[in-house]
Amino acid sequence: MIFSLNQILHKLKCHAKIYVFIVLQIAIAIFILNASLLLSVNSDKRLQELLESNKNEEYYINVKDVSHRSYYEDPYSEELMKGDYLDIPFSNKNLEELSKILSDVDWKVEVTLKLDLLLNDKMSMQSVTAIYSTGTDKILMSKETYEIISNTYKVINQNDFPFTIIDNNLVGLDGSIHPITIGHYENLEIYLPYDMYYQIYHPKHLTNTRLSVVLKNLREESKDILLKAQMLLSSGNSRFLYFLNNEFYETLADFHSVMEDNQVFRFISFILLTITTIGLTGVFVLIINERKKEIAIHLALGSSKIRICLECFAEIAILALLGCALGLSSNILFCMKKLHYINVPLSPSLFVIIIQLMIICIIVVISMLPIAKTVAKLTPMEILRVE
């Protein structure tokens, strides 16, 4: 054995108070670091599980109209006029921006409205659901629906409807041609290309407008992509409320908050570990100065400076390991109680233990550098000079 364990234990006993303080400091730093690493590891694991289980789902940004327009309360009133809903939750400018943000995913915007159409007697009305979608160029509607749309338009605008059906196409006065699929009248839904929103307008009641985003490969960044899209749509638009209406996103939001908290934990543990390293070094430099005579005797009797450094290293390593063990065991106790931080379970992890042991090794090595320097400066002759 290179050096006596008894001697090291004896030295540890000599400075018991300060060593207990160091061990506790290391233990607290390790405890917080451990909690932080466990959060990272477990939240990553949990996130992967979530991503896996939500892989093939479709996600939306829903839009809610918060303007409280009340014209629809009396559909027969004189106020049934054109352009009541000229605003649109997804403007063309927004769409351009969205297409950049959503370049990696399949996406489409669908604005679902109720069109209030006047029937022939002009006294009764028919509601039709119109879905304006960026996902199609074709129009799907029945001939009957077309008739009542054009009729309503004429009544409200005192103008002819600007589209006519020619050979399965809806041809505009400006020469624009939209392919049309004739459906059944009983089906009161019509599908329209998104860019026709302003061309076929009537008093409308916004019912269910949403940005439908089909994520090809669901991954963590998907959350950020959708959050970006949500923020873009929300900026400068107080009329509509855009929200991610999916449990998955709520969970992701929780993860986001866990991550933010975790950064604070990491910062605290980093500060504590730095203070610990500096403290450990300072204390040992002082202790070596205190033991100068003893070290000089050892050197005179044939000990090498490397050996003296190894003894200090063993002392520091014992303290560091004690602190580490204390910090880790208290964490394991928490883990055994199956604690959760928000929705992340704090399960023990071998990987985290290994990482922490590595960090402890780094601390010990860093602490040793100034100590080794101090020992290197010592000369055995000092022992004779003090006489």
Binding site: F3, S4, H10, C14, K293, E294, I297, H298, L299, A300, L301, G302, S303, S304, K305, I306, R307, T379, P380, M381, I383, L384, R385, E387
Partner: protein, 221 residues
Amino acid sequence: MIELNEIAKTYQGKNIYTEAIKNLNLKVRDGDFVAIMGRSGSGKTTLLNILGCMDHFDSGCYYFDGEDIANFNNRQLAKFRNQKIGFVFQSFNLIPSLTSVENIELPLGLANVKKEKRKARAYELLKEVGLEEKAHHKPSELSGGQQQRIAIARAIANHPKVLLADEPTGNLDEKSGFQIMEYLKRLNQKEHITIIMVTHDILIAKYADYILELRDGKLIL
């Protein structure tokens, strides 16, 4: 066995250079008992430090059993100190937290001697210096003379060839001082250990085979 040729040593302070040893020549044969005398500041301790490889010299050569010490690295020097040299200090320099037996075991431990052998040798030495019953006493529980005897036992634990004693009786009363000198003389004669002793007491120096005087860093026979 020991040969110093033109050894010089200068200490450097802030713009002050002190020549502690000036081109010193010395030859010590196996089994010699040499006393070095000199006034304070004459370079006695520096010479002892150089002889014990605890300090480097600036120029000259130091041969020990024909080997040039200048060629030794720090590790070899440490081993050399442990195996070939024994130190006896004026203020004993025992480790206060260790017992007598543990203090004697110290150089043996550094030489990686096994525990059983270490213990046996330590008790053998304790018996030799007549302090068997003080084996488990700490230095603070021993008188000055007893402490110095333990220090001598520690110094010879590894059967060194040379014992370097720096004022070994300096902190002792007259009676204890002479007892220590009797013991050192016995070691020199029976064990043939070469002793180089620094002292300023002529009565103590007379125990040596020959006396050298160190004056301003130079030896005068």
